[in-house]
């Protein structure tokens, strides 16, 4: 038997899988380059959300799980550190996502400039018009 929280979490995951599918559809089957870039950003964001879900931690005994920041460090109290260790969410996926967001941003920016350059040469941003090479 599942709890209500787990059901909601499953809805979250399923929505992300659907978003992933939609974004992949956009990247592969939409001929417009700008639309492809938009779909690419959505794809990256959805992948990041997966990572954060993997790193989430359900509430322990009614106490909200907390961000991985040890705010009581001034007290130098090992007990508080122990409580922190037992309630904070996983910081590693967050660090990975931080890296992935910046990398996605970099690639997207570069693709935007490429698209602009393609417009200057072909006067179109449609992949069906940009077809000088044989493939």
């Amino acid at each position: 038997m599942i709890t209500l929280s787990e059901y909601f979490m499953t809805i979250l995951i399923t929505c992300m899988i659907v978003n992933l599918g939609l974004a992949l559809y956009g990247v592969f089957f939409k001929p417009n380059l700008i639309k492809k870039i938009i779909a690419l950003t959505i794809l990256g964001d959805t992948a990041n959300t997966f990572a954060l879900i993997i790193g989430y931690r359900m509430w322990v005994a009614g106490v909200p799980s907390r961000p991985p920041v040890f705010t009581e460090w001034r007290s130098n109290n090992p007990l508080l550190l122990f409580v922190f260790t037992k309630t904070a969410v996983d910081p590693l996926p967050q660090a990975l996502v931080l890296t992935a967001i910046v990398i996605g941003l970099a690639v997207t920016l570069f693709l935007v400039f490429l698209t602009l350059q393609a417009w200057k040469i072909y006067r179109s941003v449609d992949m069906r018009d940009i077809r000088r090479l044989k493939g």
Partner: protein, 87 residues
Amino acid sequence: MSYGEAFLLGITALAAIFSTIATYMAIMERDLLKAVIFSAIQSTIYAFIYYMLMAPDIDLVYIPVAVGLYPAVIIALIKKTTREEKP
């Protein structure tokens, strides 16, 4: 199992459903400017989801990048190129 957790995760799941709708509209919309705005809606909702998943660091990166930067560069790009997607 607590009332608070189920309630907040319920809000998150609702947000996820709305993000799916926004994504669908963004991918299917022919007017590119509207697609960008839909993708901004989706980004805002994702920022909220990240907040609920206890990732303030990610949010601080994600909001400038996805809410501020992507729409800016793509709107600039649309302004310089074309707004309509050919059928």
